[in-house]
């Protein structure tokens, strides 16, 4: 278990709050589940880095995967039919897609 991956995940989560806020304002309340998951993941990741406790790192990793999943479940219809507005939410999707990789790395390596 390498805590460095969780530090990188934290940096991505912090950046994601900014891109997520922009996306949230464009798409409305349907992003609420994703935004909630992102905030919880941010708090738990902070706790994992602060304590270094294995169990909290596992929970943080799981939440980071959920953040990426909820981004797609909540934005799938928009992705499917809206081409011109994609630059608005593209950065957020690109950021959260890094999280599952880092989550797996933090618990497996």
């Amino acid at each position: 278990m390498d805590i460095t991956y969780q530090v990188i995940a934290l940096a991505i989560l912090v950046s994601s709050t900014v891109t997520g806020f922009i996306t949230f304002r464009m798409l409305g309340m349907k992003l609420a589940p994703h935004f909630g998951a992102l905030i919880i993941a941010l708090a738990v990741t902070l706790a994992a880095i602060a304590t270094g406790t294995g169990a909290i790192v596992y929970v943080a990793a799981l939440l980071q995967v959920i953040v990426a999943l909820t981004a797609f479940t909540q934005m799938w219809e928009t992705l499917k039919y809206s081409f011109q507005t994609s630059p608005g939410y593209g950065p957020h999707l690109a950021l959260v897609m890094m999280l599952p990789v880092l989550a797996v790395a933090s618990v497996a390596l």
């Binding site: 409305g28 309340m29 219809e77 928009t78 039919y81 081409f83 507005t85 994609s86």
Partner: protein
């Protein structure tokens, strides 16, 4: 070219006798002859047409009928645009009409009523006329008559009592999607007739169920707002080309939404009765 003879008020069988005399002594043999008659005066005209080697086609327009006598063997040109989608049918029909002499007619058939409506918009926009529409089996059709575009006269006073809202962002931009239907409600409350044209990403709103996913805490869910606007009489068109781009078919459309082509959009834009709002 075709000769048109107005004989309103002449009843049957006198109308038939008149037609027989005209067909017996044509100015230009082989020329098409049209009789504009009162309803009911067409009785017996089919026998007159056959006797002189013509085929009869009847078109009802209000209280009058038009009896078209086409020399047998010379049929009205027909084109079937079934399966083709915007802008294909409009371009096909435009090219054929461009090659026809003034007064000649073209029958356009399609399995899609929306395609025929779009072709009708293109025909009238180009200065020609739609003289008949109907359904034959599984085909919708219209009959277009080639005419020259009239030069614009003195500017006529037009009541600008209609609003065209062009929506190009769809569910990818909640604020613009809400604004489309909130502005529509305002326009309707002001007694304006509202037409909404969804194109590009805007057609995402036309897909059944998509608008239900758009919600802002300060407003009602978007699909409900959309249904209210449609129920209040708004016409909602979805661009056929944009829908095809996104794999949205006729069966996927939300209630009250119709597919329309570029000709309908351009006709709406060029209609001075419409104030145009873009979202």
């Amino acid at each position: 070219m075709a000769k048109t003879i107005r004989a309103i008020g002449i009843p049957a069988p006198n109308a038939g006798i008149l037609a027989g005399n005209v067909l017996k002594n044509p100015d230009n043999p082989g020329e098409e002859v049209r009789f504009v008659l009162s309803t009911g005066a067409e009785e017996g005209l089919d026998a007159v047409a056959r006797k002189h080697g013509y085929t009869l086609e009847i078109t009802q327009t209000g209280a009058t009928i038009e009896a078209r006598m086409v020399p047998s063997g010379k049929n009205m040109e027909e084109v079937d645009v079934s399966g083709d989608f915007c802008p294909g049918p409009v371009i096909t029909v435009g090219n054929i009409l461009a090659g026809l002499p003034t007064g000649e007619r073209l029958k356009v058939k399609s399995t899609s009523a929306d395609t025929i409506a779009d072709v009708a918009a293109a025909v009238t926009s180009s200065g020609s006329k739609v003289v008949g529409e109907g359904v034959e089996g599984d085909r919708h059709y219209l009959i277009a008559e080639k005419a020259e575009r009239q030069a614009a006269g003195a500017a006529a006073a037009v009541d600008r009592d209609r609003v065209l809202i062009v929506q190009g962002n769809g569910i990818g931009n909640a604020e613009r999607a809400y604004a489309t239907f909130i502005f529509s409600k305002v326009a309707q409350s002001m007694g304006r007739k509202v037409t909404i044209f969804l194109l590009m990403d805007g057609v995402s709103l036309a897909k059944k169920g998509n608008a239900a996913a758009v919600k802002h805490p300060a407003f009602d869910r978007l699909d409900r707002l959309m249904a209210e606007v449609v129920a209040a009489g708004a016409t909602v068109y979805a661009c056929e080309l944009s829908a095809k781009f996104r794999g949205i078919e006729q069966a996927d459309l939300a209630d009250g939404v119709k597919l329309a082509g570029a000709a309908t959009y351009l006709q709406l834009l060029s209609d001075p009765a419409y104030a145009v709002v873009n979202f």
